[in-house]
């Protein structure tokens, strides 16, 4: 089991969708939101996904397919 932390960003047209709920149902990962800021036009969440590493990677891909931006919690680390 692994626990990986991500910063995810919602574009305006995705803000109303229950994407975190959906991911928890569609993949074998536990979603745990630790910090978030959701406004009318944008929103972000810092979230932990716990599960098998391969399943977390599938869940991340699933998030991306739903139109949200997924980055590591550190954002860009390549300097």
């Amino acid at each position: 089991m692994a626990s990986l932390r991500f910063h995810i960003r919602f574009p305006e047209d995705k803000i109303k969708e229950p994407i975190i709920y959906q991911i928890g149902h569609e993949y074998k990962v536990v979603t745990n939101v630790r910090r978030a800021d959701v406004r009318e036009t944008t929103g972000w969440m810092d979230v932990e996904l716990t599960g098998e590493t391969a399943e977390i990677e599938r869940a991340v891909e699933g998030l991306r397919k739903k139109g949200v931006l997924v980055d590591p919690i550190e954002l860009n680390v390549v300097e």
């Binding site: 692994a2 990986l4 932390r5 960003r9 630790r34 910090r35 800021d37 944008t42 972000w44 810092d46 932990e48 931006l69 980055d71 590591p72 919690i73 550190e74 954002l75 860009n76 680390v77 390549v78 300097e79």
Partner: protein
Amino acid sequence: MAKMKALVCRECGKEYPTKAIHVCELCFGPLEVKYNYDEIKKGISRHKIESGPHSMWRYIDLLPVEGAATVGPHAGFTPMVRAHNLGAYLGLNELYIKNDTVNHPTLSFKDRVVAVALTRARELGFGTVACASTGNLANSVAAHAAAAGLQCYVFIPGDLEAAKVLGNLIYRPNVVEVEGNYDDVNRLCSEIAAEHGWAFVNINIRPYYAEGSKTLAFETVEQLGWRAPDHAVVPMASGSLLTKIWKGLNEMLMLGLVEEVRTKVNGAQAEGCSPIATAYREGRDFFKPVKPKTIAKSLAIGNPADGYYALKATAESGGAMDMVSDEEVVEGIKLLAQTEGIFAETAGGVTVGVLRKLVKQGIIKRSDLTVAYITGNGLKTQEAVIDAVGRPVRIQPSLVSFERTFKMGKNGGGAA
């Protein structure tokens, strides 16, 4: 009592021991070093600093290491150049260039942060250090690791031009070329750091690493005769440099090393990668990530870790932010070279370009004591200016040809 009190979450304030960790377990906010300023105040003075080594380690009392500097002992204390010519051109009476193009050993400000990161990594017991980089950071980590006898891993995207890594290979690090793009390397390195506990200088060692940038503020104050400037113009990639310059200035004030700090800290980005400056322009307190497209590669961070904090620091200081086109970057590089004899990499062109704009807009005034931070050497990004510097004058190997070309009489003078 130790000078480092704890690592503290920048968001919720929860404290942690000073280990190789960088994210708050509670709220996932970033951690930074909290110091025992009361203790530091007892031992620090202008005289003590002035008697210290001719490097950034003269400010060791305000750096996050427990013992002496064991890596990068010669980093920092770069020249503060009084830029008479550039100042006259721009209409500034007191302009200075903080010249990190000659930082030791790899000619960029990264030598400061890496010296701190590797000294701290060694104190924490690491024998292997790593980074994810496409340029200056890899250079500095590889060079410092070689000199310190540390194992070194540099992760690069597989689609990076070969020339970018050649400078690193000379130090014999383990260069790991990841089959993928920037985002793939970014994600992988974050996961390796999380799962395997390596000393990634800009990931789990980041709270210590970032503090090295404060030395630019300390040196500025000392080299200006223990004065803080009215304006600082700082290039922004992750935004960390700007926030740490602001932090460093305030530490000096808090410790009584400078009487007042009225410095407005201004941020500079290239138009092709300006998430922070765009947020400033649009009056937002958050930034939108971008896909970088600029010649200023060393500033090309589209989703900057400290973007929010840079916006905050600029607002607190009353500073501004602006951005310049790639053409203006090249103009800035040329202007600095042709007025002050300093050849900067593209980030320097961004700084000079934005400095020029801020003066034109009246944000920086003629009488303002201004410092522009030039963070890397132009020899690293020669391709950016190769088509903008003209060609050599060609002559035949004869005196006649020489004199004809330069329209020169027997008594000298003339021009091509």
